[in-house]
């Protein structure tokens, strides 16, 4: 069975919690005790009906405020696929949560209220989905029941969204008219909208093609951990453990190790079950080489004819996620990229992006919480990277404040150079 990870976003009250509750409920993932708990809470809160949205409202503080404030993960399965939902709050100050939840998503699901059409938040969510290069974007036009299931209302939202999305880099865009509250077009095609010829939401989630979204071209293996058993049975064993993040590795492949530049041949690709004929992303394996060269954590194994960029200077889109501090030129931070950790300094902030208008403000001097900008970084050591658009694993990094140890930024690499 395949696994699909998707992130959900919508502004407050667009019906995101109801939609997720509906998906879980209609696919029979809700257990009796959970249902009873939310029935009790609904009653206490004076709701007239069992509020499915409560299913996904996790922490106490959130229940008190009635809003979702952190990324929550939900799981459900159908006979066709398993799903992991990163449920990200749509609240304006929580861009960082959407970025967090969406970083590993195959698909983003954005909710729009059919009555309100595209609002500032919808633009923000679409933009973030494209920035994070989530391969598939689904726009659910919700509350269709409140616009009499009117096709024209749906088409109007669709046209408005498309116009904005043209400025973004979105590979696959789908629109579905739904009513989360009543279940229209969620699991089954709705008889209330016979004019709609597409799939129900669940059907779309089950069928959308994701197998080719990974990079199986550029062989990339960041060495994570060196395995050297101190035992008689495996006296001379020296294996490089890690997760393949691109391409395919096979015994006999000629490979190059960065930063040393030494070349060798893959002797075997080991797993607990034994050696395998080939391995690809995202397998976690152990590679052994024919030659006894010096390889350690943070090194990158690739093919001599297809190497990543290697350098200390990079250009990236950076999303600042700290309330307590800002990014300004000369800010020094720790950078975590693949299995490497180095120190980095922002040498230039080229512009800050207004994520509603996509306007580039070149006069900006800092990035504050939830702001996104194009930044030049200089690192203390070379990193081995690809453009984020080509490889999400070798093209991404996080920045850590060395005094507070907080993760303060996420970065998506655009290219090399200062």
């Amino acid at each position: 069975m395949e696994l699909l990870r998707f992130a959900t976003a919508g502004s407050v009250d667009d019906g995101k919690s109801t939609l997720i509750g509906r998906l879980l409920y209609d696919t029979k993932q809700i257990f009796q005790d959970q249902l009873e708990a939310i029935e009790r809470t609904s009653e206490q809160m004076g709701n007239e009906y069992t509020n499915l949205a409560l299913l996904t409202d996790g922490l106490r503080a959130e229940r008190e405020q009635g809003i979702t404030i952190d990324v929550a993960h939900r799981y459900f399965a159908t006979p066709k696929r398993k799903f992991i939902i990163a449920d990200t709050p749509g609240h304006i100050q929580y861009t960082r949560n959407m970025v967090t939840g969406a970083s590993t998503a195959d698909l983003a699901l954005v909710l729009v209220d059919a009555r309100n059409g595209i609002v500032e938040q919808s633009r923000r969510h679409a933009f973030l989905a494209s920035l994070l290069r989530i391969p598939h974007l689904v726009v659910c036009v919700n509350k269709m029941d409140l616009v009499d299931y009117d096709e024209a209302a749906f088409e109007a939202v669709k046209a408005e969204f498309r116009e904005f999305a043209m400025k973004l880099d979105i590979a696959d865009l789908t629109f579905i008219p739904v009513s989360a509250l009543h279940g229209d077009n969620i699991v089954e095609r709705s008889p209330n909208m016979s004019w709609y010829e597409g799939s129900s939401l669940l059907h779309h989630l089950e069928e959308v093609h994701i197998a080719s979204d990974r990079n199986h071209v550029d062989a990339r293996f960041p060495v994570q951990y060196v395995i050297r058993p101190q035992s008689d049975a495996h006296h001379d064993y020296r294996g490089y453990a890690g997760t393949i993040v691109g391409g395919v590795f096979k015994p006999g492949d000629e490979v190059m190790v960065l930063p040393s530049g030494f070349t060798s041949t893959v002797a075997s690709v080991d797993t607990f079950e034994g050696p395998v004929d080939e391995a690809f992303s995202p397998m976690a394996v152990t590679i052994r080489l024919d030659d006894d060269i010096d390889v350690s954590r943070g090194d990158m194994i690739c093919r001599p004819g297809n190497q990543p960029n290697a350098g200390q200077d990079l250009q990236a889109m950076v999303c600042w996620m700290s309330e307590a501090s800002r990014l300004a030129p000369r800010t020094k931070l720790a950078i975590k990229h693949t299995t490497r950790t180095a120190r980095a300094m922002a040498t230039d902030l080229q512009y800050r992006l207004d994520i509603n208008s996509l306007h580039r403000d070149e006069s900006a001097e800092v990035l504050a919480l939830n702001e996104i900008g194009r930044v030049t970084l200089r690192c203390t050591q070379p990193l081995f990277f690809d453009e984020y658009r080509r490889n999400r694993a070798t093209g991404s990094f996080v920045l850590v404040d060395e005094t507070t140890n907080a993760t303060v930024a996420a970065g998506m690499i655009i290219g090399a150079g200062s």
């Binding site: 503080a61 967090t100 994570q224 395995i227 997760t243 607990f272 850590v400």
Partner: protein, 303 residues
């Protein structure tokens, strides 16, 4: 010939977990794996074994022993760890009681469950562990649904749900100061059914109490508690013999059994697929107290 490079759902989950184990082993000085004897921690052991094979686990295994164990589980623990050649650290709640660090609860609802937190935090301090692998899953409970894979704990072992570090891609921030630690949850994204399917696929042995067996039990709060020396029965609580099995394994005084005839792993999977009650709701008295029970305990430094 066209090859498709696809992994099954279980293979993807396994790869993600192995990645996390290796990351921690590479970046922390003194990690440790928390082992309860339950199915989740048994799967954790298997994943750790896979992550470092053919070498042994590069960290010890810790059991927080309430003294109220199922004997089947202790047997299992010792056998399995001997097989792996892993080092066992036992943190004893009884010892915490004897040393006056905690006070034993009394009465029929007494449980050592809460006391475990102190024993655990003391052991972390004593051994200077900086990362503790736990087998919690996000599908178990609402507070866990929002917890990170690397869950930061301050010097009091507390979790602050409002101040979690953003966690992106497969980049984990393990930076801590002295006295702080990280709880690491490599199987965060697994569901109960995934665990069972993996146990079946891998042919992993689990303690016999997970399968249907005859046991003297009594009913309390709508679940079957084992009649044992660790629980005082209340008036009207009659012991009966029933065919039951456990869905989770914890302290004998508060882990309930469910009626079941599932004697094989296939039957268990069938039952889990059809069941309508969450595993914690069904069988853990400790979580039923309030809807926010788990969140409160986690804040204090519970598993």
């Amino acid at each position: 010939m066209t090859t498709t490079y696809e992994l099954t759902d279980l293979d993807q989950l396994e790869a993600e977990s192995i990645h996390i184990f290796r990351e921690v082993a590479a970046e922390f000085e003194r990690p440790c794996l928390l082992f309860s004897g339950g199915k989740d921690s048994i799967v954790m052991l298997r994943l750790a074994e896979k992550a470092f094979s053919p070498a042994r686990l590069p960290f010890p295994v810790m059991h927080v022993d309430t003294g109220h164990n199922f004997p089947e589980v202790l047997d299992f623990r010792d056998r399995r760890l001997a097989e792996l050649g892993a080092r066992l650290v036992v943190a004893s709640v009884q010892q915490s009681i004897d040393e006056g660090r905690v006070t034993e609860e009394t009465g029929p609802r007494a449980s050592r469950n809460r006391l475990q937190t102190t024993t655990l935090l003391d052991a972390i301090g004593e051994h200077r562990f900086d990362a503790l692998f736990g087998g919690a899953r996000r599908d178990e409970e609402k507070a866990r649904a929002k917890e990170r894979v690397y869950s930061f704990r301050d010097e009091f072992g507390q979790w602050d749900p409002k101040n979690q570090r953003p966690e992106l891609w497969n980049l984990y921030n393990g930076c801590i100061r002295q006295g702080e630690h990280i709880r690491v949850f490599p199987i965060s994204n697994w569901t109960e059914l995934d665990i069972w399917e993996y146990i079946r696929r891998e042919g992993i042995e689990i303690p016999s109490i997970y399968f249907a067996h005859q046991r003297p039990v009594f009913e309390r709060d709508g679940m079957w508690l084992a009649d044992s020396e660790y629980v005082t029965r209340m008036e009207g609580e009659e012991v009966v013999n029933r065919t039951v099995r456990y869905r989770t394994v914890g302290d004998m005084s508060c882990t309930g059994a469910v009626d079941s005839n599932a004697a094989t792993i296939e039957q268990v999977i069938e039952e889990v697929g059809a069941t309508r009650i969450t595993e914690r709701g069904a069988t853990r008295a400790d979580d039923r107290v309030s809807e926010a029970a788990m969140e409160d305990r986690k804040r204090e430094g519970y598993f």
